[in-house]
């Protein structure tokens, strides 16, 4: 049944093959990752839903608090709601994103070898480098975008909810809400997420490499050797250079990307605190990105040479 059209489309044996229809291997490789790991978006959404729910419960009491506070004449600027719930909400979603990224990377190149589905993926014309880059793009691009979208939507809903409750109780909008700079907060969040992803890139690349290398227990292989090295250094030389580097890599993103001395609006990071130039001048950023490339190249090589488990 297929012969008629096929033989006309087929070139003589040995001739160059027809190009066929256009393909987008990177795009579909990323989509395939999200199909497989639905927790990439479900986990941040679930946390956001939980935060929204708790916030709703808390906000229902708001009119009473405001009423009692205006009775005891406080300055309106310090009236609740403050930005604190917004920060807590953003931080919970960001931390969820990091956890999801770590969990994802540890399995990304390990599970396909364990369940032998790598034989299916490798039967298709997707180069290893595209497969690995698609996987790396999940913690470096996809998750930050999801975390940003979820956080901003959640905060908008929180603001809307507050306004609704306050207004339906006949109170005027609290000063905080009126001056609430959602776009500035979005900018700070976007900047923070980009710098965080760049700062953590070597960590994710390390996890991907271990996931491509380990024959079993990728989590232990990823975590124990660095800890063991730090301990060994401490015992042998009574120094903690490695530990310091590790600490800086895991938790140093904020200090590198933000000006901690700048004016801060209480619990919120102000837009004046973002310091992109300072961030770009940090040598550790560029060293980290170099290490990222090395780890990712190793992961590509390992995916190519290691078969199924």
């Amino acid at each position: 049944m297929s012969d008629a059209q096929d033989t006309t489309a087929r070139p003589a044996a040995g001739a160059a093959s027809p190009p066929g229809h256009r393909t987008r291997p990177f795009y579909w490789s990323v989509r395939r990752e999200i199909w497989e790991h639905r927790f990439i978006y479900l986990a941040p959404l679930a946390i956001a839903a939980l935060v929204l729910f708790s916030y709703t419960v808390g906000t229902l009491h708001l009119p009473h608090i405001m009423a009692s506070q205006s009775a005891t004449e406080k300055t309106p600027a310090h009236m609740p709601p403050t930005g604190l719930p917004y920060s807590i909400a953003a931080v919970s979603v960001i931390l969820t994103g990091i956890l999801v990224g770590v969990f994802y990377c540890l399995g990304a190149l390990y599970n396909e070898r364990r369940d032998r589905s790598i034989l299916f993926w490798k039967s298709l014309p997707v180069p290893d480098v595209i497969a690995v880059l698609a996987k790396a793009s999940i913690p470096l691009i996809v998750l930050p975008v999801i975390v940003f979208t979820v956080t901003i939507s959640m905060q908008l809903l929180m603001s809307g909810l507050t306004a609704l409750i306050v207004l339906t109780h006949g109170e005027s909008l609290p000063a905080f809400w009126v001056t609430w700079p959602i776009y500035r907060m979005a900018l700070v969040l976007a900047y923070g997420l980009v710098t965080l992803a760049l700062w953590h890139a070597p960590v994710y690349a390390w996890l991907l490499m271990v996931s491509a290398w380990a024959r079993r227990a990728p989590f232990l292989w990823a975590v124990l050797p660095p800890i063991a090295l730090c301990l060994a250094e401490k015992i042998a030389f009574d120094s903690s250079v490695l530990g310091g580097m590790l600490d800086n890599r895991l938790f140093g993103s904020f200090n590198a990307a933000f000006n901690a001395q700048g004016p801060s609006a209480g619990t919120l990071i102000d837009i004046s605190q973002i310091a992109p130039l300072q961030f770009l001048e940090t040598a550790d950023l560029w060293i980290g990105l170099g290490v990222t490339i090395v780890f990712l190249a190793a992961a590509v090589r390992l995916r190519r040479t290691r078969g199924s488990l």
Binding site: M1, S2, D3, D6, T7, A9, R10, A13, G14, S17, P18, P19, G20, H21, R22, T23, R24, P25, Y27, W28, S29, R31, R32, W35, E36, E112, D115, R116, S117, I118, L119, F120, K122, S123, L124, P125, V126, P127, R304, T305, G307
Partner: protein, 291 residues
């Protein structure tokens, strides 16, 4: 240009020699059965052909080195390992979307038409399908790809006879068109004998027998020897002799069919019988062929 050409192909894993100097040539448009016991090196050979393993020696598939030009080669090569390799979380519709999105030669409507003849639903996940249905799906994906070489590594493992028959029928009727080349390994030798054009026995990393099916049929004969002819038949030096229901059945490697026919009832042997005769325990030929 041959589809696959290997010269002195070698590969070992640690101290285990999986391929010990394999030479093979497969012309385009052939259907080759690669047959061997477990651990003979079949999968290693296929994985080398597919660029999944590095190797020593020279190997050319469709004119390319599969290890260094794997990415390009895979546009022209399809591969079914066994039924277990399709990712269990994948939905049928996603499998179609994905392959259509990444494979330049995938004809989606062809795959859909094939699936329409099965009971597979688009929204099902692979883990919800039976083994037979997973094979049908994989076959639907592969048959919709206009490839030049199809490699099947135990494609029907664990399937019942109906699915196995259907699998090979589809392969022959809907896929094979005389230009494509197919390489199959399987333990169910008898079931594929009639579709093969070439056969190769591999044992302990070496090719023990390589023959076209036509040569196989003129060269090997199985005779149910008449009781009064047994000693005469033994003089023809059979590869093997076994007793079935009190009759001697002997397998000969000899082109003179007419002469052998006088010894009893003659027929073309099954590949499995020849396989056992050549490689089975205690076979006389084993010492000659495998050293």
């Amino acid at each position: 240009m041959p589809c696959i050409e290997a010269r002195d192909l070698r590969r070992s894993f640690g101290k285990t020699v999986a391929l010990d100097g394999v030479d093979l040539t497969v012309a385009e448009g052939r259907i080759l059965g690669l047959i061997g016991p477990n651990g003979a090196g079949k999968s290693t050979a296929l994985h080398a052909i597919l660029g999944l393993l590095s190797f020593q020696g020279t190997l050319s598939v469709l004119g390319r080195n599969p290890w260094t030009e794997r990415d390009r080669l895979m546009r022209d090569v399809c591969f079914i390992a066994d039924v277990a390799v399709l990712p269990r979380w994948l939905r049928v519709a996603q499998a179609l979307d994905y392959v259509a999105g990444i494979h330049p030669r995938f004809n989606r409507s062809k795959a859909e038409a094939f699936l329409a003849r099965t009971t597979i639903k688009h929204h099902s996940r692979i883990r919800e399908l039976s083994k037979g249905m997973i094979t049908q799906l994989h076959l639907a994906l592969v048959m919709a790809i206009d490839a030049r070489l199809l490699v099947l590594d135990e494609p029907t493992l664990g399937l019942d006879i109906l699915y196995r028959k259907q699998f090979y029928d589809s392969l022959l009727n809907d896929y094979f068109d005389g230009d494509r080349t197919i390489v199959i390994t399987t333990h169910q030798v008898e079931e594929i004998q009639h579709i093969l054009t070439d056969v190769m026995f591999i044992d302990r990393g070496r090719i023990v027998l390589a023959s076209t099916m036509e040569d196989f049929e003129t060269r090997y004969h199985e005779v149910t020897v008449a009781p009064d002819q047994v000693s005469a038949a033994r003089a023809w030096r059979p590869l093997s002799e076994r007793q079935v229901l009190g009759r001697s059945i002997m397998l000969f490697d000899h082109p003179d069919r007419a002469a052998l026919a006088r010894l009893g009832d003659i027929r073309t042997p099954g590949l499995a019988d020849l396989f056992v005769a050549l490689l089975g325990p205690g076979s006389t030929a084993q010492r000659e062929h495998v050293k």
